[in-house]
Structures are given as C-alpha cells and as structure tokens.
Symmetry: C2
Subunit: 553 residues, 2 copies
C-alpha cells in the first residue's frame, strides 16, 4: 500500500480542519499510558538517560567529519555530554544539493505520504522528545511533552496539509482553446510547482521543536531539501526528529540527506555561512530580532522569521477579578515567561479596573495579581512544574537589572524543584511603571517579568498597546473589556497592528496558547516576525509556479 493511500484519511481531515478552524488534533495532547502505551514514559526517560555522555548515532547521514555537542540541562546545570556528527558548511550544502534532484522529482503525493508516515512514527518517540526538551529548554514535563510532541506534530501536519493544498491549487495541465474568429488557437499547457532550493531551518533554544518542525515539513512537502541547524543549546530534540525523518527516507529509498542535521557549537557557529550560501534559498528562523533582521536582509532569499515582541494585556472591566488574575498569573508563570506569547505589559488605568463590585484600584489590582502569582508559585503541586527552569543564565541576570526601574510589587526569587535540586529557577517579578516610562517597557524583557503600567485611561492603554505592537512587534494580546464598542475598538486597533487578541480569558485557557489548525501563530504583519504558522503564504513562498505550453496536437 502506498504511504499516501495509507495516510489519505489523516491528510483529508487535516485539510478540512485547516479551513474550518474548529478544534482538531491528530495527536492527543495528554501523555496518557492508554494512548501512548504503558511503558512509553519510562522508556522515554530511559532513552534519554542512555543518550547522555554518548554519541548520538540514530542519524542516517554518513561520513561525520567530527563529533560535537555542548548542551547543558537547565535542571541539572550540568553538561549532557551528547555529541553529534558535524560537517563543514560546504559539505552540508553539497550533500543537500545532491539530495535536491531526486526529492523535487518525487510526486507530491509520495512526498506527502512519506512525511505523514514520519510524523506517525514520531508519535512513538514523543516521550523521548519530551525528556530531551526538558533537559535542553528547561520547560516543565507537561509542556515539554505537549509543545514538542503532539502540538508540534499537529502544526507540522498543518504545514503538510497547507502545502499539499497549495501544490494542488492549479491543474497539472489544461487545454487552452482560444477562438480567433475563423479558427482557434489551441495550446496544451502544463504547470509545475518548482521548489526554491535548499531550506535552512534555524532552531531556537526554548522551543526547538514547536517552532521548527512546521518549517521542516513545510519545506519538505514542497520539494526542498532541508538543513536543520539547531541552537547549540537545544540539539537533542531536533536530532531525534531528523533521525525519524531520515529513517523513513532511507526505508523508502530516498537520500537521508534530504533532511540533514547541521550541528554547531557556541564557539564555532555555522549559521551565517549556511545562510549566506548561494544554494540556500529558504531560511526559517526563530530567535533574536538582531539576528532575524540580519537574515531578513540577506538578498535573494525567502526568509521566514519569528523574532521578539512586546505583548500587552489591556485591563478595563472584568466579571470576576480573581479568576482573571489567576488566569494572568498562570500566563506569567508558565515556563517562567520564556514564551514568545507570554504577556509582559499590563496596562491598567490609574483609576483601576471596573468589576461588578465597583472600581478596584490600581494598587489593589497589583496586590491581588502578585498574590495570585505567589499562590501559584508556592503551590507545591503546581509551582515547580508550571515554572520549569530558566534556559539561559542571562535571563536570570537580566532580572537583577530590572529591580530599580520602578516600585517592585513582587520580587523574583528562586524556587526549589523537588525533583531537580540544582535546577536554575526564577519566579516572576512584578514591577510598576508609569505610562511615561516607555524606555523600560518598549522592549522584550524575556523571562519572568510582568510590568504593571499605569495609564490615564483605557484609551491610552489601547493606544500604547497598538503603538508597541506596530513599532516593536507583538505576538499576543489579552484584553479584558465587557463593553461591545470598546471591544470593537480594541479589536480594530490591534488588528491594524496585526496582533491577535484574546478577550476575557479565565479558567484553563491562556493568552500564551495557540492551537494548531485554528490560531495562526504570529501574523507576519508586525515586527515580531514576517511569517505566520500556518497561513497560505507560509507554504506558497517555498515554491514557484512555472508554466509550459506548446501547440496542442
């Protein structure tokens, strides 16, 4: 049975979901033994332990020029000691170029079937990937499983489905029959979706899988060979994914170098050399604005970026302030604010927030918000697992500098993780600022920081949230407002700043979360990034429509 036929049902569901944008998940998000197998978790943990201080030998790419690795676990604050096959940039480019011809000539259906097969196989490694993600990013166990496993696989499937649809958007051929009066001109026409060339996917240290595999599968389905360059601090999760893809490739007679892992170290980075190679036509990047802007500026490349943003919460009126503040406290605590969607700037009018019980003053909101964070942090069943660990020491160091910028409603401290005594942790800090202190809140302060910004009124809050999104980018926005006109005003203002808005969230759904097949992640319309996962542009730009015609016989 052809892989395409085997997985046709998954593809059809995915394409349908892409358009309906209602809830859809191919991969269950709960790490349940009933779904994933009784021993799956234990085996995943075991596999992770076995990989430590060893060569990673699952890849099918051959002829390693050397073995390198420099990962550290934020939970163990110790080196993982895993090494990966490494190559000179020229070797990588040559290998990818060689893999290009057979891959681009593979029928779209065959590429699609093979890539879904790879995802289905990957499902059996979700726990391996989860532990690899924990010990490179510092994410909590649940987020590591969900964000790097089922959620990421769903977003990859989404990219496959979007690509499949675009590749079939126009007919392979058509008979063009133009009446000219006394005779007709008849042409036989054909069209090809020509892949652009080598696709470089540059991973990040905090979400190595979720942010990268839509790009990997989006480029592969459209016929481009992919070079995966992980962040040197978070290689293992991507190594597992690339190995799974290479396994399916080789088992089906394709060159494993169709999807290559290109590992480097902090000391000897190779991203620029790869990115600037003439043969590299596509670049996907998640990370700093500085490096993202550099990549966007390289001529003759199609570049997809997710960079930094400044996310706002607009507080005007609520039905239940405690529920709102609990929800926001969770958003701030989740992975210690190390999410591109985490809220940073909380705009609160100087005369407070409207509630059914009357106006609650700015100071009371600040106090109760800080208390909600403390309650979550100090809950031993939740705190350590929601906060996880801090990926990079720089994030902790930055917190010190912030203490002096305004009144501190809640100080950051460390939090003991009962399972990992050495974990690098930092609890959220809450700082008050005036709306005039834009020099402090007009940039991304990556990590567990909430700025409560006192505004004249909600109109000023909206104005500032829009301005920040337009000038510095924003990936999410939360708004608490009950008046319909005001909600429209917020929607319109943030819409113009190309920033999605979540209104009045409480309970178990958070502004940080973006669901596959429903929420476009990043819009591409403000400085936080030029790409959106997964809108049509995300796959269309990976190939070119070229037409061929000749007189019909």
């Amino acid at each position: 049975m052809k892989l395409f036929d085997k997985h046709k049902n998954i593809l059809d569901n995915a394409v349908k979901a892409l358009h309906e944008r209602t809830f859809f998940a191919q991969y269950p998000e709960h790490p349940s033994p009933k779904i994933y197998g009784e021993n799956a978790d234990a085996e995943g943990q075991e596999n992770f332990k076995r990989s430590l201080n060893n060569k990673f030998e699952e890849l099918r790419q051959a002829n390693a020029e050397r073995w390198v690795g420099s990962e550290n676990s934020p939970y163990l604050q110790d080196a993982l000691g895993i090494t990966y096959p490494a190559y000179e940039p020229e070797t990588i480019i040559k290998s990818a170029q060689k893999a290009f011809d057979p891959w681009r000539k593979t029928a779209v259906d065959d590429r699609t079937g093979l890539l879904i097969e790879a995802l289905e196989n990957l499902k059996t490694q979700f726990f391996d990937i989860a532990y690899a993600t924990m010990h490179t990013t510092g994410q909590g166990y649940m987020m590591s499983f969900q964000a790097s496993g089922p959620h990421a696989a769903d977003r990859a499937l989404e990219a496959i489905a979007a690509g499949y649809e675009e590749l079939n958007r126009f007919p392979e051929s058509a008979h063009w029959d133009k009446p000219m009066g006394k005779f007709n001109i008849q042409l036989s026409k054909r069209w090809r979706a020509v892949p652009k060339g080598i696709s470089l996917v540059v991973g990040c240290s905090t979400f190595p899988i979720w942010n990268s595999i839509p790009a990997i599968f989006g480029s592969l389905v459209t016929g481009n060979p992919v070079v995966v360059k992980p962040h040197p601090g978070a290689v293992l999760p991507l190594a597992i994914v690339v190995a799974a893809i290479q396994k399916v490739l080789t088992e089906n007679g394709y060159d494993p170098n169709t999807c290559m892992l290109a590992v480097d170290t902090h000391d000897e980075p190779i991203t620029k050399q790869l990115a600037e190679s003439d043969a590299v036509k596509l670049i996907d990047f998640t990370g700093s604005a500085t490096f993202g802007n550099y990549l966007e500026g390289i001529k003759h490349k199609t570049v997809f970026t997710e960079k930094t943003g400044v996310n706002s919460i607009i507080l005007d009126e609520v039905e239940n302030l405690d529920k709102v503040l609990q929800n926001l406290a969770f958003s701030v605590c989740l992975y210690s604010g190390q999410m591109c969607t985490a809220p940073q700037n909380f705009f609160i009018p100087e005369n407070g927030v409207k509630t059914p019980e009357g106006q609650v003053s700015f100071d009371d909101v600040a106090k109760r918000f800080s208390a909600a964070i403390t309650a979550l942090v100090e809950n031993p069943k939740a705190g350590p697992y929601v906060l996880g660990a801090i990926q990079n020491q720089d994030t902790c160091d930055r917190l010190d500098d912030l203490r002096s910028i305004g009144p501190v409603w809640l100080a950051s401290t460390t939090l003991e993780n009962p399972m990992f005594k050495k974990a690098r942790t930092a609890t959220p800090m809450v700082i008050e600022l005036s709306s005039s202190q834009s020099e402090h809140y007009s940039k991304e302060l990556f990590g567990p920081v909430a700025l409560l910004i006192k505004t004249k009124d909600t109109a000023e809050s909206i104005h500032l949230a829009q301005k920040l999104a337009r000038e510095h980018g924003a990936i999410s926005c939360g708004a608490y407002a009950l008046n319909a006109d005001l909600k429209y005003e917020i929607e319109d203002a943030m819409g113009l700043a190309a920033t999605p808005v979540s209104f009045n969230l409480t309970g178990g759904i958070y502004v940080n979360q973006n669901a596959g097949f429903s929420d476009f992640h990043v819009t591409g319309g403000n400085p936080s990034g030029n790409a959106s996962i997964t809108n049509p542009e995300y796959v269309i730009k990976r190939f070119t429509w070229v037409g061929f015609r000749e007189p019909a016989v």
Copy 2:
C-alpha cells in the same frame, strides 16, 4: 440591486477560470464595432484629440496644488500638452490615509462589486485608453487597444477574483470546542483579513495599463487605498483609469481618494518620497532593475516588482523552419522589441538547426531569419503597425552602440509610418555573437535587437539560457525541440530558473504573449521580478490574517 449581486456572475466565472486556466476572457479583444459600438473608435479618437493641450479634469480628487504634465507622443514627436492635478507627497499620503478607514471597513462583497462595476464602466472607454496608450508608449493601434483595454481589464478582473477568493479562504468565525476530559473549553473565534495600508503603484512608460491595473485592483479589493504614480511619460492612460474608478467610488458614496493619481514630472520626481513614507506599506513597480532593487531594499514594505530580464530562444529542431522564423520575426518586431517578454538571445548550435530536410547551417538560419524580419517590416499592411514607434529616444541611441559587437546580419533602420510621418521608429537589428561573448548578451538590450548566439550544441544553449535566467532574470523562453527527452531537459532546466517555456510556437501565437487567467506573468522566482500576475501570493501579501477569540457564551 447591490453591485455585488449585479456582477456575481462575472466574479464566479472569473474565479472558475482562475482555477481551470483554460481560455477565458470577460472583455473581447477585438476592437469590433459590433461589440464596442459603431462610433466607439471615432469617439475615442475625438476624446483623445480634445484632451490635447488641456487640463485633464475627469478626476474627482480635489484641491489640486498645481497642474503638471510632460508627455510626448512617439508618433507625433511633439508634446501632448495635457496637464494633471498635482500635489506634494505629504498631501497625497494624508488624503490616502483619510480614505483608508472607510475603505478597509467596507465589506469584501461591496468592494468586489464596486471594482467590477468600475471595470465594466472602463469597457466603454477602451478606445480612449487605446489612443492615450498609442500616443504615450508608441504601441501600434491594435496592441494599444488590446493590451491596455480588454487584456488589461481581464488581468485586473483576475486580481479581483484572486483577492476575493483569498479573502474568503477562512471562515469569518468558528466555534472552537476542545474536549478536556471532564469538561470542554469553548471559544468563539473570529478572523479578519486586515489590509496592510497605503499601496503605491508605480507605472511604466511602455505598458502603463497592463502592468499596473492588476496591482491597483488587487490592492483595492483587499482593502488598501491606492496611490497611482504613473511614469511621467505615460500619464494619460492611467489618468483615464483612475478617473473611472473615482467616478464609481463617488457615485457610491466613497472617498475618491481611495484611488488617487499622483503625477510628477521628469524634473521633479516624487516616487522615492512616496515609497519611503512610513504610511506606504505596499509598492508595485515595473521598470528598471536599478530602481526595482532600490524599492525591494526599503525596509518594512511589501514590494512587488517586474524588472528587466534576458529572454532566450533555444533552437534545436523544427518541423518547418520558415514558419518558425516567421513566428520569431513577428516576436522581435512586435512593438519593436519593447516588451518585457520579447526574445533577445537566440541560441543556435554551430552546426545549425535540425529540419525534416536536414541540418540548416547557422548562417542559413541567420539569413532566413533576417529575411523574415525584412519581409514583415517591408509589408506595408503590417510593418508600421506591428512595429509601432519607439517610446524613448535612448532606445534608438543604444542601437548605434551595438553595431560593433559582432557581425550584423540585419541593420536597424527607420520605417516610415504612413499615418504619422514624424514617428520615432527603428526596425530590428540582428547581430551574431559567439557564446564566449557573454559580456554582450548577459543584459537586457531593450528594443529591437536580436542576438544570434552560436553555441557548441543544444546542451550549451540550455546551459546558457538557464544561467542567464538565474543570474539576470528572464520572463519568457521559447524552445524549438522535438525530441521528448530534450524537451523534458529544457523544461526542467528552465523550470529551476523559474522561467516559463513556450515550445514550438508557429502561426498566430507568440512567446511574447501571456494570457489572463491562464499564463502566470513573471514567476517571481528569478531576478526579473519578485511578483507574478496573478498567483495567490500576489494578493495574499496585500493583507494580514488576524484572529480574535473569547470564551463562547
């Protein structure tokens, strides 16, 4: 009756045609009195004459700051003397910004209906536009009518249809219902296609309408106000189009400045000031690589370009050499080679071209090709009308410089036009080059120039055609080959260079022609331009998908 309902049938047919890519035309290409009215041609000519040495007062845009105009007729070699309302760039930007809010808030259906109404009205002015095009571009009468009238209107309709489809690609709202085990999380979600902002459409001197109105209508349908900046040498055709759009806008209660004409002169150009304005988010440009590259390099803009290219003909084997050479002679003569799709480099193997009668030597091909051109040029019923006039004296001047680069098989001369004794004309020149003289054939030589390049064999011809397209861009390619493997090889090589190929054209269809709803014009995948009329990217990039969500009630 709403305009959308009135024109729903046209829209449906256009969307269908876009996908089938078989022959479709909403606007008949023949300037027949039966179709367009007995007096339409005479009235068009009369209207043109009346406009000479007068203010152009059809625009609804108010408060002209001054009246300017500097057009010259290539047929009369005399000033047209028409002046147009002109404004400072800041005035234009402010006016467009003011028009943005009501236009973006107009329902997609209403925008679509109104724009099709504008095209339908424009149909009654096709002859006005034809004479305006003749006397600014130098195109022959038939091309002026077709390319600026029905063909352009079809391409504009195509952009409307593509835009309409993309804007309706995702639902306006959805109910998202996620099972969480013991409860469900339910969100009410909405999406908006948010227009990017002011769209600047920069016209060119040779195809002011055909190259510009897909952009104008593509930007308008997606909700962006448009500033049309014509080439100072070809204002009148676009002025008529903008006036027609403004008439429909005002009649339906919209701000005429939703589509503004921004006229400048050679001495005081305003394009850079407009392009660099923060408020301008979209730029469409047709013209030189130098200026196009500058525009592409401006940060934070979405730029659509058609620049220069080097188009090749690959000659390997033919069924009927005379028919082939007649076809190619026409392609070279048509509008004196001033088309972006005109062939320039003819790659011919040193041992000649295969025919059923045996190999025809390089020299014989050159001789017979030159003779075919001469026959067409000297045919009094065809020559002057096919060649038209030369838009810009620089094009004639450049021909002089070329005479020394290689053996001249056919010299360029002037050609008397019986209707316009003063017309600026130049017949095609044919020059032989060796494949080693890449310095001469690796750039666009705009105008009536055919280079016959002697190659070792067809493999070298393909190699060079691909290399030129990749490095310098190409918009068209013609190939004459009968062997199936060889055809595949050409298709594959030129496909990788993102260049469409027309195989074995003879008779009344030419490599220069691209048909609306069927042929993508420019692919966007090589240096000849980054945009393609009309692929999905051409409209998708004019707006941003933004999502909004809140707990379902």
